[in-house]
């Protein structure tokens, strides 16, 4: 599930599962929301219980859009296996933890 709040930063709240079944749809929503990016991105994964490589591709897309726009992409609330997945895949080397 995805929810997007545009305030000072863009807050993308990912919850429940982000896997091969919903990654494509989520990616489309994210890309639409991040058009003409003017602020930093915060990916809130506090309530994300599962992420697979398909979900990581969505996160990677966010990070790349931020990089291209010279903005930052922050990760918030990663814990348990979800955090371990971000860590072992190397994503915590470029996602700053908020």
């Amino acid at each position: 599930m995805i929810e997007i709040q545009k305030e000072k930063d863009i807050l993308i709240i990912l919850s429940d599962r982000l896997d091969s079944m919903n990654a494509d749809e989520t990616k489309e929503i994210v890309m639409e929301a991040l058009k003409d990016l003017q602020s930093d991105i915060i990916l809130d994964v506090t309530n994300l219980t599962y992420i697979s490589s398909a979900g990581l591709q969505v996160v990677l897309k966010c990070a790349k859009i931020a990089q291209e726009s010279q903005k930052e992409c922050f990760l918030k609330g990663a814990h348990g296996t979800v955090r371990e997945i971000f860590q072992v895949s190397g994503f915590l080397t470029f996602l700053k933890e908020a």
Partner: protein, 479 residues
């Protein structure tokens, strides 16, 4: 075993997830369910994307649980695919290998992942997940006693009982540190469950005065077949010099007989002579030589060569006799006769030359602990070489095997046409093993990409030296 067959469509992923979820509940392994579910999705999607691409086919998913692992396998009959695992995770945003993320996560979250080529039956992607257990090195070691006066009169040699598992682990850990290649012995729970299932048959030296374990030997029976490998030998330092090693080994050999085994094999390393001498003294016969088959480079208290992989003599101790009719290539007939004469096994050579069938049977496997690939030809057929080449490619170029051993049955049809084909692939004859595949005798051929410095190899007996000289000469022909 649980089994599920699903078509190669992404929309069936939830079905796979439910299969994993229910199985985790049934087997009471919720603790590692997240990791299994993740790897299951990654394996399924990887096969869809790379093996079937947009084509339709079936994927057979099997779940097995043994004493140590939850085993999840995917079998498909799609296109050949690149199965090389990424070497490292990303370290910047620009180094993320988006295409390799599935295999990276599988590598990180499974204990072991291997591809097995079943020839016409397809390709199997097998993932192993360790069951939650406590390793011996996480437990405190017992306090050392001083001035203990041990005596051989206090020692009984007997079959393993489960209350001794922790002590067995402890003496292995004390003797080998972290260097023992079979890690099962570091886990008392595994020693118990493997002994219960018969995959390990442990014999211990028990100090009746002090109620503790003084030594251990075991038969390993990975496939519960008719040949066991003897090993896992250790004597607690306080009990050295009492001749315990020999006594435990003799009892272990007796146990092998009572189990109805055809024989016991052993692979002593060639950095020292002690284990080879023990083998020969207790009736085992040298039957082959494995150059570079052991990853172990350093041994406690032995000045070993750490610049290259270790080599092993192959020994075999026959426990049962039967008549065998052997098909062997004429080029190695004489050395094979010498080995069988030493083994005192009755044999005749087959007179059915030029017999053949279209389709044979070839299987392969990879042992990551030893970095050794194995190819098993259990039925001779005209298509053997095609499947040997496929398996060889997977093992060497994808799994990065350092050595490949090829086992070819001698108790089937004429092997002669196959031999020049395998030597063309740079395999060289390296010995025989009786009753090794499905109870049938095999020849061993070896592929060794980098030569071994043989000046570091120590061989105990004259007959073993003669055999090693023969195999070494065969090696030189292909290297």
């Amino acid at each position: 075993m649980l089994q599920l067959v699903i078509p190669s469509y992404k929309k069936f992923l939830p079905l796979l997830n439910n299969f994993i979820s229910v199985s985790s509940e049934v087997f009471e392994i919720q603790e590692i369910k997240d990791k299994i579910e993740l790897c299951a999705e990654e394996a399924f999607i990887y096969i869809l994307k790379n093996s079937y691409r947009e084509e339709q086919g079936d994927i057979e998913i099997k779940i097995e649980i043994n004493e140590t692992h939850f085993v999840l396998s995917f079998t498909d009959k799609g296109l050949p695919i690149d199965i090389s695992f990424p070497k490292a995770a990303a370290y910047t945003i620009d180094t993320v290998d988006a295409e390799g993320l599935e295999l990276l996560l599988i590598k990180k979250f499974s204990h072991k992942a291997e591809w097995i080529n079943h020839g016409k039956e397809g390709r199997e992607f097998k993932l192993y997940f360790e069951l939650p257990q406590q390793a011996i090195y996480t437990l405190p070691l017992p306090e050392e006693e001083v001035d203990v006066d041990v005596s051989i009169n206090d020692i009984e040699i007997k079959r393993f009982e489960k209350q001794w598992a922790t002590e067995v682990s402890q003496i292995i850990y004390q003797a080998y540190g972290y260097s023992y290649p079979n890690e099962d012995l570091y886990f008392p729970d595994r020693i118990i469950s493997l002994n219960k299932s018969g995959h390990l048959v442990s014999v211990v030296a028990y100090d009746t005065k002090r109620n503790r374990i003084a030594g251990h030997y075991a038969l390993e029976r990975e496939d519960l077949g008719s040949v066991a490998e003897i090993g896992q030998a250790v004597v607690s330092p306080k009990y050295r010099g009492l001749g315990l090693m020999k006594k435990i080994r003799l009892k272990t050999q007796e146990v092998g007989k009572t189990l109805g085994l055809e024989g016991i094999m052993s692979k002593p390393v060639t950095v020292h002579l002690f284990s080879q001498k023990t083998n020969e003294t207790l009736g085992a016969v040298p039957v082959g030589m494995g150059f570079g088959v052991s990853p172990v480079k350093n041994f406690k208290k032995i000045e070993a060569d750490s610049s290259q992989r270790g080599s092993c003599m192959y020994y075999f101790l026959p426990l049962k006799k039967r008549q065998r009719v052997l098909c062997v290539p004429p080029v190695h007939k004489q050395i094979i006769e010498t080995i069988y004469t030493d083994l005192q096994l009755e044999y005749t050579f087959s007179t059915h030359t030029n017999s053949s069938r279209e389709n044979g049977t070839v299987k392969s496997s990879y042992s990551p602990n030893f970095e050794v690939g194995s190819i098993f030809v259990s039925q001779i057929g005209k298509d053997n070489i095609r499947f040997i080449k496929e398996a060889f490619f997977d093992l060497v170029f994808r799994m990065k095997a350092k050595v490949v051993l090829l086992y070819i049955t001698m108790e089937d049809l004429d092997v002669e046409p196959l031999i020049p084909e395998v030597t063309n692939e740079n395999f060289f004859f390296s010995g025989i093993l009786p009753s090794f595949i499905d109870g049938k005798d095999v020849m061993i051929y070896e592929f060794l990409p980098e030569d071994i410095d043989e000046s570091k190899v120590e061989i105990y007996s004259d007959r073993a030296k003669a055999l090693v000289a023969y195999i070494s000469n065969e090696k030189r022909k292909v290297l």
